[in-house]
C-alpha cells in the first residue's frame, strides 16, 4: 500500500513538473520480479541544473536474492525493502559516482526470491549474471545458500559482497571475487565470551549445534574460546537439519545441567529446540541464542525468552557514522519498515551495501576486474565500525573485521551488555525462572 501511494505521488509529481516547469530530466521505471509479488518502483533522477535534460550514460545494476518464501523468509524475507529503500535514497542523492563516466550514475537493484533454497539461488544468480547483466552482486541470506551460489559466482568472476554469510567454508576456497564485511562466524561470539569471563559467574556450558555451515561455523570458534576462558564443556549435541523432535538432546542436557546452553542454530531450528526444551523443563542459568531475532522470539513466545542473550551487529549507541551517515541508515530502515530489534541482521545487509557503494566509487570503472580490485583494497568505515573486505588471514580470503556483540532481552526490551563502552544495561545472570 505504501509503495502504491508513493508510486502515485511520484507519478503525479512528475506530471506536474513536466507540465509546468519543463524540467523533467529523466525517469526510469524498474520492475522487480519477485515471485508472485511484483512491485513497481519508480526511480527519478535529476541533474544539478533544471534547464538541460541529460540522461545518465548508464545505470549501475546490482543483483541479489532474498528468501521471500521458505524457512528463512521470517528472518530475511523483508530485506528486499531495505535494498529498495537504499536504491531510492541513493538515487535521490544523484546516484553513485563512477570516475569512468565522470558523473554520478543511478543504481538499480534486481531482486529475486530464492525460496530459501540453494539450487534456486544458484539458478537465479546465473540469471542475474547472464541475463540481467549485473555489475556487482549482493550475497543471499545465510551461509548455506551462499555456499550453493559460490560456483556460479566464481565461474563468471562477478564481484559479490556476501551478506549474512560468514561460514569459514565459504572463504577457504581461494575465491577472489567474493568478499565479506563481517568477520568469520567462529569469531562472532568473542565479545560474548569476553563478557562471560569478566562476569566470572558461569562455569559450565553445553552446545546445541545444527549440522549446517552456520551452526558448525559458530561452534568452531565458540568452543575453543569457551575453553580458553575456563568454561567446562559438559555437552555437545549436534542435530541434523530438519530435526523436529529434540527430546533426546533435552534429556542429555538435563542430565549434564550446564550453566549456559549455547544454541548454535539458525532461527527456525533454534526456536524449535528452545520451545521443546522449555516445555520439557530444561532451565539452565542462561540460554545464549545468537539468532535472538523476531522470527525466533515469535516462534517461542516473547514471555518465554525473557533474559535470553543473543548477538547483534549494530546498535544506536555505536559511535560510527558509516559510509552514508547514521541518519541515512535510519531513514532507510524506516522506509523499509524494519526495526533493528526485530531484524538485527538487516544491519549486516546494510554493511554489504556500504561496501558495494564504496567499491563502486573507489573503482575507476564498472569493469568487474576493477571492482574486484577496489573491494580487495578498500578500508572503510561502516555503521558497525571499520572493515576491510579484502583482508586475508590464514587459509581465508576476503573476510571483513566486524564482530557481533552480546545483547539481552529483559522484559521485552533489548539491552546491549558488552563491551562496556556501549553497554546499555546490566547483564542479568542467572535467569530468574518463575
Amino acid at each position: 500500500m505504501t509503495d502504491t501511494r508513493r508510486t502515485i505521488s511520484i507519478a503525479v509529481l512528475l506530471l506536474l513538473i513536466g507540465l509546468f516547469a519543463g524540467s523533467l530530466l529523466s525517469t526510469t521505471i524498474i520492475t522487480r520480479p519477485l515471485g508472485v509479488e511484483q512491485i513497481n518502483t519508480i526511480t527519478v533522477t535529476f541533474t544539478k541544473t533544471v534547464t538541460v535534460q541529460q540522461t545518465p550514460p548508464r545505470t549501475i545494476i546490482i543483483g541479489a536474492t532474498v528468501p521471500k518464501t521458505g524457512p528463512f523468509s521470517p528472518v530475511a524475507g523483508l530485506f528486499d525493502k531495505l535494498y529498495i529503500a537504499w536504491q531510492d535514497m541513493v538515487n535521490e542523492r544523484g546516484g553513485l559516482y563512477v570516475k569512468q563516466y565522470g558523473t554520478r550514475l543511478p543504481v538499480k537493484v534486481v531482486i529475486y526470491d530464492d525460496e530459501s533454497r540453494g539450487e534456486t539461488a544458484a539458478r537465479l544468480y546465473e540469471k542475474l549474471i547472464t541475463e540481467d547483466k549485473v555489475d556487482i552482486l549482493l550475497g543471499p541470506y545465510s551461509s548455506v545458500i551462499t555456499l550453493a551460489v559460490l560456483d556460479v559466482v566464481a565461474k563468471y568472476r562477478v564481484p559479490m559482497v556476501a551478506t549474512s554469510a560468514a561460514a569459514p567454508s565459504i572463504y577457504n576456497r581461494g575465491i577472489k571475487n567474493v568478499f565479506s564485511a563481517i568477520d568469520l562466524l567462529p569469531t562472532w561470539s568473542y565479545n560474548y565470551f569476553e563478557m562471560i569471563k569478566a562476569e566470572g559467574k558461569a562455569k559450565t556450558i553445553a552446545f546445541v549445534i545444527e549440522d549446517d555451515p552456520y551452526g558448525r561455523g559458530v561452534v568452531m570458534g565458540a568452543k575453543p574460546k569457551a575453553e580458553e576462558i575456563g568454561l567446562r564443556i559438559v555437552a555437545e549435541e549436534v542435530f541434523p537439519i530438519g530435526t523436529k523432535d529434540f527430546t533426546a538432546i533435552i534429556l542429555k542436557l538435563k542430565a549434564a545441567d550446564p550453566d549456559i546452553v549455547f544454541v548454535a542454530a539458525l532461527a527456525p531450528a533454534a526456536a524449535a529446540f528452545v520451545k521443546q526444551a522449555l516445555e520439557q523443563g530444561l532451565r539452565p542459568r542462561e540460554y545464549h541464542v545468537p539468532q535472538l531475532i523476531k522470527a525466533f522470539i515469535e516462534a517461542v513466545g516473547l514471555k518465554n525468552v525473557n533474559y535470553f542473550t543473543g548477538e547483534w551487529f549494530w546498535t544506536e549507541d555505536l559511535p560510527y557514522d558509516g559510509y552514508f551517515g547514521k541518519a541515512f541508515w535510519l531513514e532507510a530502515m524506516s522506509r523499509a519498515g524494519l526495526r533493528n530489534e526485530d531484524y538485527p541482521w538487516a544491519a549486516v545487509h546494510w554493511l554489504a551495501l556500504e561496501v558495494v557503494s564504496a567499491a563502486i566509487e573507489r573503482a575507476e570503472s564498472l569493469n568487474k576486474e576493477d571492482l574486484i580490485e577496489a573491494l580487495d583494497s578498500i578500508y572503510i568505515m561502516t555503521i558497525s565500525g571499520p572493515t576491510q573486505p579484502g583482508r586475508d588471514y590464514g587459509p581465508f580470503t576476503n573476510v571483513g573485521l566486524i564482530k557481533s556483540f552480546p545483547v539481552q532481552i529483559v522484559d521485552g526490551k533489548f539491552r546491549v551488555i558488552w563491551p562496556p563502552e556501549i553497554r546499555t544495561g546490566q547483564y542479568v545472570y542467572p535467569i530468574p525462572w518463575p
Binding site: D245, L251, A272
Partner: protein, 295 residues
Amino acid sequence: MMSSAAIVELTLGGLLLGGIYSLLSIGLTITFGISKILNLSHGEFMMLGSLFVYLFFQFTGGSFNPFLSLIILLPLFFIFGYLFEKFLIRYLRSKAGEIQEGALLLVTLGAALIIEDLAFITVPREFGVPYSLPPIKILDLTISTTRLTILTLITCVTLGLHLFLRKTFTGKAIRATIQDWEGALLMGIDVNRISAITFGIGASLAAVAGAFLVMLYAVDAYMGLPITVKAVTIVILGGMGSIVGSLLGSIILGITEVYVSFYNPAWSFTVAWLILILILLIRPQGLLGKRIKRI
C-alpha cells in the same frame, strides 16, 4: 547408561509421536478399507489441520487456547472429508473398472499437490504455534504438560473412535462396509453415505493430529506427502484395514524414532524404517493382517 528418568521421558515422547501417527494412520486405514483407494492426499488433511490452528492462533493474537480450536476443527474437517469423498473419491470409485488403479492413485496425488501449493501461498514458510503449558515436576521427572495433555487427548480420541465403531449403528455399518461392501449394501446400509462419513472421520482424525503436531513442532505446507508415506507404511505394517494394527505400528515407529535419536538423531528415521522392513519380512501380511491364501 540411560537413567530411569530418561527412560520414562523417552517412552512418553515415543508414545506421543506414535499417538500422532496413529490418528493419521487409523484415518487412512478406515478410508482405504471403505473405498479401496489409497488416498495419497490424506496427509494434507493433517497439514491443513496444522495450518488452521496456526492461522486461528495468529488471528486471535495468540490469546486463544489452541486446544479449544479443536471444537471448530473437528466438525469443519468432517464436512471437508465428507465432501472430498462425495465429489472426488466416489467419482473415482465409480470409474474403478475403466481407469487403471495407478491413475486413481495419481488423482489423489494431484489433489495433494494442489492442496500443498494453495497452503504454501497462504503461509510460505515454516510455522508453529508458540503455545506451551508450564511443565510439572514429579519426583526427579520434569514432564511437559502440553505433551501430557496431547497424549491424554489422543487416548480419548482413540478410545472414543473405538467405542463409536463398536457400539453405534453407524460405527457397525462402517465396519460392515469395510468387510464387505456388497454384503452391506444387501443388508440395506446406505454405503455411499457411510463411505462419506468414514472420510469425514478420517479427515477429522488427521486434522486433529495436525493440530497437535503444530503445537509441538514447526511444520510447513509440504509436510503432507512425507507423512502420508509414513502413514501408508504404518497401515501396511499393521495389516491393511486393521485399526488395532495401525495403532500398534504407529507406537512401534514413534518409540523407535525417539529412542534411536537419543543415541544418534541422524539415524532415527533409518532405524525405524529398518524395523518396519524387518517386521514385514517376517510377517508379510502385517502385524494383525490376515494372510491371503494362494490357490
